[in-house]
Symmetry: C2
Subunit: 177 residues, 2 copies
């Protein structure tokens, strides 16, 4: 038997290579250090598991984001803390998630396109500039910055630790933890 | 804060109209009466939420069953009791679910095709016999009865209460509850 907290979803949105995965892992570690288990839903991993047939058109991205939102909803309504790491480029995708989930904390993982391009751990920007991929968010496809994010973190100026602290402070303020 | 049990998945498989949904609801009620919350994943409902693009070909059914298995896995590994109600007609679908989930209890909801046809709450059999649908499990598409179900219930001969008791006894024996 284990005791769990009221469920909620921390939804990390941002450009490719903005630092979503790093932030998700750091946040999970921090939550664990105060006795709270969480589940990370990483967009790429969930895609492999349940959306292998989808591409990166607007419609496919939307369908995938809806699936991630639905799964997050099921987990969080059962008392699980969920950390979603998903580009989720359009406001409408995130607003949909906010609506069906309820206990929703939107975090804008902010980073300039120049810095993302410099980091480029998966070689996506390189491939986009060489024309090998045609739908990279931020380059060919739009990214709509959040209007109503509960937290904005700037991974260019703040360390992972500082970013995590900001999110934890917000979760505290909202009485989720 | 609520306390939850070790997660596991009760996977109800059987023909359309065999009594899966009725059994799922009765089991959920019974578990609740001993202080255990559970989440029902009903095949039709999950399909509407995350697989609206899928039909009922073998490949589409498989993809859908895999999605349900993945979601069940995420929930159960976080301590949630999951009751799946899904035709899941082929052994390979259920074996896949068993493999990725681990804490897996397969329940064969057994009922003769004649009795299912008589019940037919959704008019599926009627439509199949009139040629309006062409892929009803048990009529046009195959149903493979389980070889290794942990429990077999017979909804023609046993009341919902008796069926639930059988499942509860099995969960007890396997030390899930």
């Amino acid at each position: 038997m284990t005791c769990v907290h009221t469920g909620f979803v921390v939804w990390l949105t941002g450009l490719p290579a903005s630092g979503k995965t790093t932030t998700a892992k750091a946040l999970q570690k921090k939550l664990y250090s105060i006795g709270l288990k969480s589940e990370i839903l990483d967009g790429d991993q969930v895609r492999k598991a349940i959306s292998p047939e989808l591409g990166f058109s607007k419609g496919d991205r939307e369908l995938h984001a809806k699936r991630v939102a639905y799964i997050s909803h099921l987990l969080s309504r059962n008392g699980i803390i969920v950390i979603v790491s998903l580009i989720s480029p359009l406001r409408s995708f995130r607003d949909y998630a906010r609506e069906i989930i309820g206990n929703f904390v939107e975090v804008w993982v902010k980073c300039s396109i120049e810095e993302c391009n410099k980091r480029d751990p998966k070689g996506l920007y390189k491939n986009a500039f060489q024309g090998k991929i045609s739908n990279l968010t931020g380059i060919q496809d739009p990214y709509e910055p959040p209007f109503k994010a509960e937290v904005v973190i700037d991974t260019e100026k703040q360390s992972p630790n500082e970013c995590t602290e900001r999110i934890m402070n917000c979760l505290n303020k909202l009485k989720y933890i």
